[in-house]
Point group: C2
Chain length 284, copies 2
């Protein structure tokens, strides 16, 4: 019987999500990776207790619908964020064999990946037919059974999994592009001293100064906001919830007191998690 | 010689973007619709003066990479937002002929559209193969040349354009889902009295209270914020710009004074536009 920890992630094998998982987990042999077809399935499998942890994109993802991650965590789940991984978005042009770019007649990938490589494609592969896939990993997998004149845009890990060749690396237009993934679990993480807290504020009403009043509680306690986004509440585009990242842990006195103060003025504060901040040197 | 106004939009014909265009423009015969393959092409064709106006998704889009719209408007363009259209996201299951759901073996669409119809698909079309397309319009177009047992998820307008049948309407999981599109042009719109202003604030440094100080200028002047999002600045995920929507026109005294005050404390304020607020009854 296996005692390996199960970690669900947005599959199929070879996605950016799997790349993030491999970068974060030190002893990859000690875990069982469980690919799920959608972000929702990853989150729900943690909610149902079928896996020990899950990994999903939260910000600026290629394949995941990031709004869906935020909305499911906000409205339809009780899982907590237990960690984060930030990885650069690096696209490779992958083929069955190394070949000259002018021999490539078709390029297959997720529409977001082709959108992010538009300069490379219009400069080097102008005229090639652009074919869509459900993920970059699917694109690379499909390649196996196609003609030699088709290339895929995907990750290096996918090229390795399906035993294909990298024709060109780092073909993305913006080399600073990064994606943020979060780990999900069923318990709040311990304080490490270098933490981040993600919360959602549901507003009683949308009126001048309501967000200002929220932020006052943080500003007066010298708490830094590193990310803030308004998301439409479920019913109408006019009612908003705010998702924000705070510098610090829920168990830090200033964070806890700020949230207690908030609770007096907003409809609801939901804690999505306190977890160690991603630091580049965590990367293997 | 045609004197019709040219309006670029995110194509191909039959996208949600074209649906939004049709809903907004009263005399559709008086304009020339110019489909562009990407959001960037729409924006740049306005910048180059090749078209009179452009229409792109800004929030919660199916097909457009919304982050790209925000980032290009923020960092790489001088066009102004001149109007907005908000339309419900309605998906239809489309086939070559009306047929029973259990006869459908494959479903083709943009990955975001299939993601938004996951409940319908798992309940009614469990086991059907999900095939990706670059847009819902492309999915519907492809259908023409396929077998009868394939269906597409797309717009009603696309079904009409390609002379196909609606098998089932409104198959999206969340019926409250809406997408916001914006018109782009080269001049600031006149004040109508029911306006919205979109601005971008670039921060000198990311420190506690910096967003709070921005919002103070609006709160003390009784200006309502209807939308706020932090976006990573180009260089690092730690430096942010804030994109926000304000209730009112740049030429309203309180808005103008708030922005002048802001300019003293932040690195840069960029006005993306002042334009009439979308009102449901504007719809044809």
């Amino acid at each position: 019987m296996s005692t390996k920890k199960k970690i669900a992630y947005l599959g199929p094998p070879g996605t950016f999500c799997e790349e993030a998982l491999d970068k974060f987990v030190k002893d990859i042999d000690q875990i069982e990776k469980v690919p799920c077809p959608t972000v929702v399935e990853v989150i729900k499998s943690v909610d149902r207790g079928e896996v020990d942890s899950g990994l999903v994109p939260l910000e600026n993802s290629i394949e995941g619908l990031v709004n869906i991650t935020q909305d499911i965590l906000t409205f339809e789940s009780e899982v907590k964020i237990t960690g984060e991984v930030i990885i650069p978005v690096k696209h490779s042009l992958i083929g069955k064999k190394k070949m000259r770019l002018d021999k490539i007649k078709k390029v297959i990938s997720h529409p977001h990946a082709t959108a992010q490589c538009r300069n490379f494609l219009s400069t080097n592969l102008n005229g090639a037919e652009i074919i869509a896939a459900n993920s970059t990993a699917e694109a690379v997998k499909i390649l196996k059974n196609e003609d030699d004149d088709i290339a895929a845009i995907g990750t290096k890990i996918a090229a390795k999994i399906y035993d294909l060749q990298i024709i060109e690396s780092d073909i993305e237009d913006n080399s600073d592009n990064k994606t943020r993934f979060v780990f999900l679990g069923n318990s709040l993480q311990q304080r490490t001293g270098k933490d981040k807290t993600t919360i959602v504020c549901f507003l009683k009403e949308d009126r001048p100064g309501s967000l200002y009043n929220i932020l006052r509680e943080f500003a007066r306690r010298d708490i830094n906001l590193t990310c803030l986004e308004s998301r439409p509440a479920k019913k109408d585009l006019g009612d908003y919830v705010f998702i924000m990242d705070l510098d610090g842990h829920l168990h830090d006195k200033n964070i806890f007191e700020a949230i207690e103060a908030l609770r007096k003025s907003v409809y609801l504060v939901k804690i999505l998690g306190s977890y160690p901040k991603w630091i580049e040197s965590n990367m293997k």
